[in-house]
Amino acid sequence: MPVFAAAPSHLLNPTTLPSSFTSRRKLAPPSSSTAATSRAPSLKCQLSSSSSFPTPQNPQPFELKPRGPIIKKLSIALAVASSVTLVLNLRKFVFKGDGNFGGGAGNGGNWFGGGGGGGDGSGGDGGGFWKNLFCPAANADESPSQEWDSHGLPANIVVQLNKLSGFKKYKVSEILFFDRRRWTTVGSEDSFFEMVSLRPGGVYTKAQLQKELEALANCGMFEKVDLEGKTNPDGTLGLTISFTESTWQSADKFRCINVGLMAQSKPIEMDPDMTEKEKLEYFRNQEKDYKRRIERARTCLLPAPVQREVLQMLREQGKVSARLLQKIRDRVQKWYHDEGYACAQVVNFGNLNTKEVVCEVVEGDITQLLIQFQDKLGNVVEGNTQIPVVHRELPRQLRPGKVFNIEAGKQALRNINSLALFSNIEVNPRPDEKNEGGIIVEIKLKELEQKTAEVSTEWSIVPGRGGYPTLASLQPGGTVTFEHRNLKGLNRSILGSVTTSNFCNPQDDLAFKLEYVHPYLDGVYNPRNRTLRVSCFNSRKLSPVFTGGPGVDEVPPIWVDRAGLKTNITENFTRQSKFTYGLVMEEITTRDESSHICPYGQRVLPSGGISVDGPPTTLSGTGIDRMAFLQANITRDNTKFVNGAIVGQRNVFQVDQGLGIGSKFPFFNRHQLTLTQFFQLKKVEEGAGKPPPPVLVLHGHYGGCVGDLPSYDAFTLGGPYSVRGYNMGEIGAARNILELAAELRIPVRGTHVYAFAEHGNDLGSSKDVKGNPTEVYRRMGHGSSYGAGVKLGLVRAEYAVDHNSGSGALFFRFGERF
């Protein structure tokens, strides 16, 4: 909160009185904890920034918090899990500036005055103006409803300030600024206007008005400033502030330095009895000190283009004026804030009256990073989570020594949230009291319960005889889940779940899963991000291999039950790209409708009978297969959202390598490659609310298998994720398949419509699946489809024409095809 301190220079440059331009950050409000308590438990980022331009408090009716500084609220929309509270606090920074420092403007100002100008400080009482500006107490005691006294003077006469009565409360009807240099009245949009805390309609005493005037006189913006009142017939006063703006020598150089964390050198009191020589010596010292300060200061982040822009401003202007410095400060601060450096402030301009303007910025260097755990009541506790786990999620830009950036804070929030270990996450930058200009980044975390167990039940009513539900057909079903997460504070977890549709008869269908997740396989300090997963699972799926082609009525369904053990290691390269490899051992059982093990598919004979000599369902021919194989999957995904539309490329390659271990010693290499590319067809401007671009999606999928191929591992064609417009497996089941698809998405009113064409082909390899299920169930082995649809929220509504039969149908599907 830069404020400009006047330091009338009498010695070397009597004409340009204020040789210094000091800015002081605001004094602390009583307690910084106010911000903490007022923190809303919501997804909100409070930026109580003190970096806004000093707006001294004023008794305006609309001012709800008369004492609060201008609070800039930044609402950060973070798409996160609903129950987690994320708070990024950017509250008021309390820099403990000593009020006196600025006050000794004469002295303090000197080392800013630096070079040629050589400001002298027989300056005014700086402390006073500080108080005035920053302690709104001076005039905060008014309220709009307050009584006021008539001036009791004849109307339409001009009264000097000192002629006003000290006992009366005057109502100010209007405030005018009069620029003596330009000889014009400036409007309220002028940057000077915000320097004044008085507001039209307010009620002030003479003392308050005098203090205000003093403050203006001492702020460094003005060489000379006067306050006059004009009596109005209705008893109110119209105020006119006439001023002469401060100016300095023109400059043709601009330098921006980071003075954060630098010790503010205490000015040496100047002895009023100093001789001329001593004074000269004194100023020389001041000058030297300042030069050293500039040298010591670190370069700032301000990029060259902005610096050039500022230089341009300086050159155009000629003389450096207070207004210009204000503009420069605004420009510099704007850049910082636009880039997310929310704690950065211009604190001072130095070296005035030389050829160079030095802009001193406190950028907000992080001096410390604190990670704290809190219990439910907000007390600081020792957390279970190990600190490095949190630490490795933080962007480097939040480490000590870096400049605090709000985007880095948001990134930290998102990253920590993705750990799914905390119910409440707060990232608070707060000023470092011991290190002026420094920022301590506090990360406060509330941990979730380590152990959770959950039972969800459901009753399914099964139609009984005659289609009516009977009592006996009420089945209690549900899921039991338990989770023990964050074992050893290293985010390891064990998760188990059991699901059945009938607890009374769980052997009918029991789905279970037990998983152990072990992240940071290479150590929590190692940047390599590999996660080990061991899981024990079972699943039951309807086999799409045993599906009839068009015109074939019922093909008796085959259920494929898999139960086994899976161990894999996932290495995450980016958030989306990863490489997974591991070992799978499983037992596959094929069953018919009535849950009997069924080694061969059934087929309906032309006579209507059912023969059981269809294609074999398993490799072993017994209906039960056991096998062990290696599985590797590499996913490259560089897609990103452009205004809500996916653009980019996604490539997935998966290979299952049989090891020859299991029933009939299965040895095979089953591989599939998927290539999907989302082409952005038009360049669009990115930003919230902007329309997404039209996108062309091209998709290709090749699947193949060499070696032993049981029917449950055959590739099937047809279905919502294969060739739309067909049922699952309606086109065929083959050893090698190729799917090609193209989709054009056109954005329409917040959603998109699309048209697509797809083709699936068995490459003549249907006969290479044992028993040729494609032919047995009279399927074509290849097929195309085309259609169009519209996306309605999560649902796709599409009309697809199946090219084999030439008939179309309307489908509703969840999720995306690609």
């Binding site: 020594g401 985007e407 390598q657 290499n669 060499v706 070696g707 044992k770």
Partner: protein, 311 residues
């Protein structure tokens, strides 16, 4: 099993001369330790397959339907005489509507499962003048089902042998022209190699099933060239049965073709290596270049530039 098989009584209906010859031939077979002979009869529809079966057996063992296609299921007729068993499998016509009838072929294959085929009678008509693609297709289908080896056990049977050749061609010339054309189609359809062709020629036998067939003095049915065809046919069958080539045993692999699961298995290690080096590695490289090229927000870039900042 053998007890259930009916006695070959039809043999008695033949002329005595024929009976003698047949007994001789059967004795010859038994001498060579062949006690069972399974004959598969295949061909287009309506060429006289069933009639031929009936003629050999000497009774109406199989129903003949001259105007409509027979049922789609094969029929096996078994007869035994003096410890010798003769199985003749009559099959439905393989052609329907100008195409190979896959269902019929499939049914035949399933019917033949776990049976041994000693002799294949490929039946066609003598009085068909043209050999076309369809013949080749049938041959191909048979070869595809039972393998090339079946043609070593095959006889080409031409029915309706009692005819007067058109344009006054001599009967012998017409017969040889017709059989040459058919054998050529057979060779092409079966995909036999040149070297196989050299010493190969499936014996061609003429048959006349009609009741108005001419008979000779011993009451045997004779062809226009004077050969008594039943003994001749059985004789050729005997010759082929004893020609040293192997009978075809129809098992699952024969029906379903070679096991596709075994194909290319030895290439798997190579395939895996190719996948690792030519697919997984390039994708990994692409990911790394994605990471390098990623559009980072400016604040992230800026701080990496000035890492040398001191606290």
């Amino acid at each position: 099993m053998a007890s259930q098989i009916r006695e070959w009584s039809g043999i008695n209906s033949f002329a005595p001369a024929t009976q003698t010859k047949l007994s001789e031939l059967l004795g010859k077979l038994k001498q060579e330790d062949v006690n069972t002979l399974t004959i598969l009869v295949m061909g287009k529809g309506g060429v006289g397959k069933s009639s031929t079966v009936n003629s050999i057996i000497g009774e109406r063992a199989v129903t003949i339907s001259p105007f409509q296609s027979e049922g789609t299921r094969p029929v096996m007729v078994s007869r035994t005489r003096a410890g010798f068993t003769l199985n003749i499998i009559d099959t439905p016509g393989l052609i329907e509507g100008g195409y190979i009838n896959d269902v019929a072929l499939d049914n035949i294959k399933r019917f033949l499962l776990n049976k041994t085929i000693d002799i294949l009678l490929y039946v066609d008509r003598l009085d068909a003048y043209r050999v076309d693609n369809l013949d080749r297709e049938i041959v191909k289908a048979i070869t595809g089902s039972f393998g090339k080896g079946i043609w070593n056990r095959a006889l080409v049977v031409l029915t309706h042998a009692q005819l007067s050749p058109p344009d006054g061609l001599p009967y012998e010339e017409f017969f040889s022209k017709r059989s040459d054309a058919l054998l050529k189609a057979l060779r092409l359809g079966a995909g036999l190699k040149k070297s196989d062709v050299q010493g190969y020629g499936a014996p061609v036998v003429l048959v006349e099933n009609s009741g108005r067939c001419n008979k000779n003095e011993t009451d045997e049915k004779v062809l226009p060239n004077g050969i008594a065809w039943i003994p001749h046919l059985v004789q050729v069958i005997t010759e082929v049965a004893l020609n040293g080539s192997k009978s075809i045993f129809v098992d699952k692999t024969l029906i379903e073709g070679p096991n596709p699961n075994d194909r290319g298995k030895f290439l798997i290690p190579l395939i895996l290596a190719v996948q690792y080096f030519l697919v997984i590695k390039p994708i990994e490289r692409a990911i790394r270049s994605d990471v390098a090229k990623e559009n980072r927000p400016s604040w992230e870039m800026r701080d990496t530039e000035k890492t040398n900042r001191k606290i």
